[in-house]
């Protein structure tokens, strides 16, 4: 296997490129538009709170997914990983979701007066919220959210745009620059995920407090980004692109998925156990709303989908590199991440879990829109970073 072949692009399978069959595209567009109609009807037929909760959920879902993919890119540069170089273009494309998310996030700020007690006018009269009024109030909250979303474009600009340009100019200087920038990117990533967790999740109930909620959301974010990356890799591989991605590369993706299911469970249970043990009234009410009554079923389903099923599905060696197994486990994990955010946000709306046509419409609109965006993004640049000097080494990777 020669690196020269990779450089000329012949092994990345450009010949089979092209916009995928239009039937799928038309179906996707119809579903997305159908979902859009449902979404437009939601505030009138199901109430503003439900509309904003769904909007916020999907904004956070896609934000964490894109940030998780960006984290994978930055992680590779940070630790000079070689195995993931041939795969790097995929999370780079997934991270491009951060661009439309600036608009989605700006709209999501409409949820502030509806769902966030700290941003309402009567917050000034509440002794628990008066001291936090500046932090939780709409002006600084909005500035913070928009600042963070724009800050997220910086790593996208440096790492992803630079990587695409390296395809053309084959300049190894970008690789050096990216490795130098990676630590700063990690700091930005940590700031963004923590901000999302503390503001959007914690802000729903300002009296409740958890130190670890940022790490909790990070675990879910990385899993979501990784699952999307895995699905995209398998999709491209199934279409004859990424031909040189072997069992060994897939095994590493599967190993990451496996490891981070355990990490998510560890963090989730650690938070629950500490609050259960201390039994402090201002902490435990948050869990009471989420594991008592009908929400207990959601919590158990979450434990099954986010831990038990992926853990036992990926525990053996062969399973971690098996495309069929990885595909359905990645789908389960993406569903579990949605359920995770649903379990975090929707208890605000009532004692019974809501799930009917508004949730389905939002899933069609945002899910369909995301797939359409990613289908377009999958045609950007080469399928592998052909300008990266370590691509050959990455292709030779063996376990």
């Amino acid at each position: 296997m020669s690196v020269k072949g990779v450089m000329s692009g012949e092994r990345t399978g450009r010949a089979t490129r092209g916009v995928p069959p239009t039937v799928t595209g038309r179906v996707l567009w119809s579903l997305t538009v159908l979902g859009g109609c449902g979404v437009a009807a939601t505030p009138f037929a199901a109430g503003a709170a439900r509309f904003w909760a769904n909007w916020m959920l999907w904004f956070l879902y896609l934000l964490t997914l894109a940030l998780g993919a960006l984290f994978l890119v930055a992680l590779e540069h940070l630790v000079s990983a070689r195995w993931s170089v041939p795969l790097r273009r995929i999370p780079e494309r997934v991270a491009s979701l951060l661009l439309p998310l600036v608009a989605v996030g700006a709209v999501a700020l409409g949820a502030l007066p509806v769902l966030f007690p700290g941003a309402r006018a009567e917050a000034a009269a509440d002794p628990h919220l008066a001291g936090k009024a500046f932090w939780l109030g709409a002006p600084f909250f909005s500035a913070r959210v928009m600042g963070c979303l724009l800050l997220g474009l910086l790593p996208l600009w440096v790492l992803v745009r630079g990587s695409l340009r390296q395809d053309l100019d084959r300049d190894p200087a970008f690789t050096v620059r990216a490795r130098r920038f990676a630590p700063a990117c990690m700091a930005i990533f940590a700031l963004l995920v923590t901000e999302a967790a503390f503001d959007w999740i914690g802000g729903l109930e300002p009296e409740w407090y958890s130190d670890v909620i940022g790490v909790y959301l990070f675990a879910g974010a990385f899993l979501a980004g990784l699952a999307t990356t895995t699905l995209a890799v398998l999709y491209l591989k199934g279409r004859g692109r990424l031909g040189d991605i072997r069992f060994d590369h897939l095994y590493n993706l599967g190993g990451f998925l496996f490891g981070f299911t355990v990490f998510w469970s560890y963090i989730a249970f650690a938070q629950y156990m500490l609050m259960w043990y201390a039994n402090l009234p201002d902490e435990v009410h948050w869990y009471q709303a989420r594991i008592q009554g009908p929400w207990l079923g959601v919590a158990l389903l979450l434990a099954a989908l986010h831990f038990l099923v992926p853990f036992f599905a990926l525990v053996t060696r062969d399973a971690k590199g098996d495309p069929g197994r990885l595909r359905w486990v990645a789908v389960v994990l993406l569903a579990a991440h949605w359920l995770d955010l649903y379990w975090l946000i929707f208890p605000q709306l009532g004692r019974t879990p809501l799930g009917s046509w508004p949730e389905l419409s939002f899933a069609l609109l945002f899910g369909g829109g995301t797939v359409l965006w990613l289908r377009g993004a999958m045609e950007k640049g080469e399928d592998m970073p052909v300008g990266d000097p370590f691509l050959g080494e990455g292709l030779e990777f063996r376990l």
Partner: protein, 381 residues
């Protein structure tokens, strides 16, 4: 084992590159001469598949032991905390699964890592294995630097005919240097001398440890075990205290304090208590309690039936009251209660022995005895 002609451990062929080794493996494997083993200075990719090595069973072993660790920790903690010695800790139910999870996790890790480490070393790598024959071979210098060895081995050794065909197979596959390794001699560990030495070493170690312990106890101050139980922040009687303003550890109760179960009793004579009313209802539980206390405290003098004729009367010439006598039948509940608290004639006070409720329960039981001994027809069920 010492007969070198019985067979050889392995036939070893050297190659000068991993590619040559990989090319030779299928050619030697095709002859099916025995177990193939490769010795290389660094890991060579694809070697396991080429040699046809079976997948290591270690993963399955670790999984089974990890699950066993989780189950063992769950069962043990559940039995201990909820069945054998139920104890409320921190206001949680004795069978709180949440509290078991960290231990379950840790025991799982312990079982899994021990299985992985010891299973790999002792079971699968067959250690301890002192003096592996390859370490004594001529080829070992090359194997640890820049040569790649392919060995034909067999459990129980190769007989001379098999060794000869292995040699020819390796020659045909292009081996540069071929070496026949003899069976390893049995180690000196299990000879009579070795066993004697081992026993002597154990005895010497025991004597040494005993002497060390003896002198450690003699020379070092012995710490009381679990001394922290003595160091709790509490007030010792008669000891000074920096907590209270007057500096005394012992304090009078706050004015108006009533000790639990010891209500004030202002009457000075049993007659003065005659007006008190029994606060306890007549239930099966109260009567059972009254009977228990009566039989422990009262029956020794007043008799099991309350007739004042127990064995003690004959022995000491005492004349305890006959509770069934008409004069005593007419006594009020409060009057009997007062006698229990204050005593009468030779009967001492039972205030210190019977708690408030126990006294009233005894009064009920005395009433039951009286009624039982003067039962009327309508009392029969």
């Amino acid at each position: 084992m010492t007969d070198l002609n019985a067979g050889s451990f392995a036939v070893l062929g050297l190659f000068d590159s991993p590619d040559a080794l990989m090319a030779a493996i299928p050619r030697v494997r095709a002859r099916a001469l025995g177990r193939l083993e490769a010795y290389t200075p660094y890991p060579v990719h694809g070697l396991d598949e080429a040699l046809g090595l079976r997948r290591s069973p270690l993963g399955g072993m670790v999984l089974v032991m990890g699950v066993l660790g989780v189950v063992a920790a769950l069962v043990f903690q559940g039995w201990l905390s909820a069945v054998d010695y139920p104890l409320v800790t921190g206001g949680k139910a004795p069978s709180s699964w949440q509290a078991f999870v960290p231990i379950m996790f840790e025991i799982m890790v312990l079982f899994a890592t021990f299985t992985a480490g010891l299973g790999m070393l002792l079971l699968l790598n067959r250690l301890p294995y002192f003096g592996h024959p390859v370490l004594q071979s001529r080829a070992i210098r090359g194997i640890t630097r820049d040569r790649f060895a392919l060995a034909v081995e067999a459990d129980g050794g190769l007989d001379p005919a098999a060794a000869a065909s292995a040699r020819s197979a390796l020659e045909a596959a292009g081996a540069l240097d071929i070496e026949v390794l003899p069976e390893p001699a049995a180690g000196p560990l299990f000879t009579a001398e070795g066993i004697q030495r081992t026993l002597a070493a154990i005895v010497a170690a025991c004597v040494g440890a005993g002497m060390l312990m003896y002198w450690a106890v003699k020379l070092m101050p012995v710490l009381p075990p679990m001394s922290h139980i003595l160091e709790q922040p509490r007030l010792n009687p008669q000891a000074p205290s920096t907590f209270f303003r007057d500096g005394h550890g012992m304090q009078l109760p706050v004015p108006g304090t009533v000790a639990r179960g010891f209500l004030p009793f202002p009457a000075r004579t049993p007659e003065a208590a005659a007006g008190m009313v029994n606060p306890l209802p007549v239930t099966r539980a109260v009567l059972a309690r009254g009977r228990s206390e009566y039989q422990v405290r009262c029956a020794v003098c007043h008799g099991a039936l309350g007739d004042g004729v127990p064995t003690l009367t004959a022995a000491y010439g005492a004349k305890p009251a006959n509770l069934l006598a008409p004069a005593n039948l007419a006594l009020s509940d409060g009057r009997i209660y007062g006698t229990i608290v204050l005593g009468k004639n030779a009967m001492p006070s039972y205030a210190a022995d019977l708690a408030e409720d126990d006294r009233w329960a005894v009064v009920h039981y005395v009433r039951a005895l009286q009624r039982a001994q003067h039962a009327k027809d309508e009392d029969l069920p």
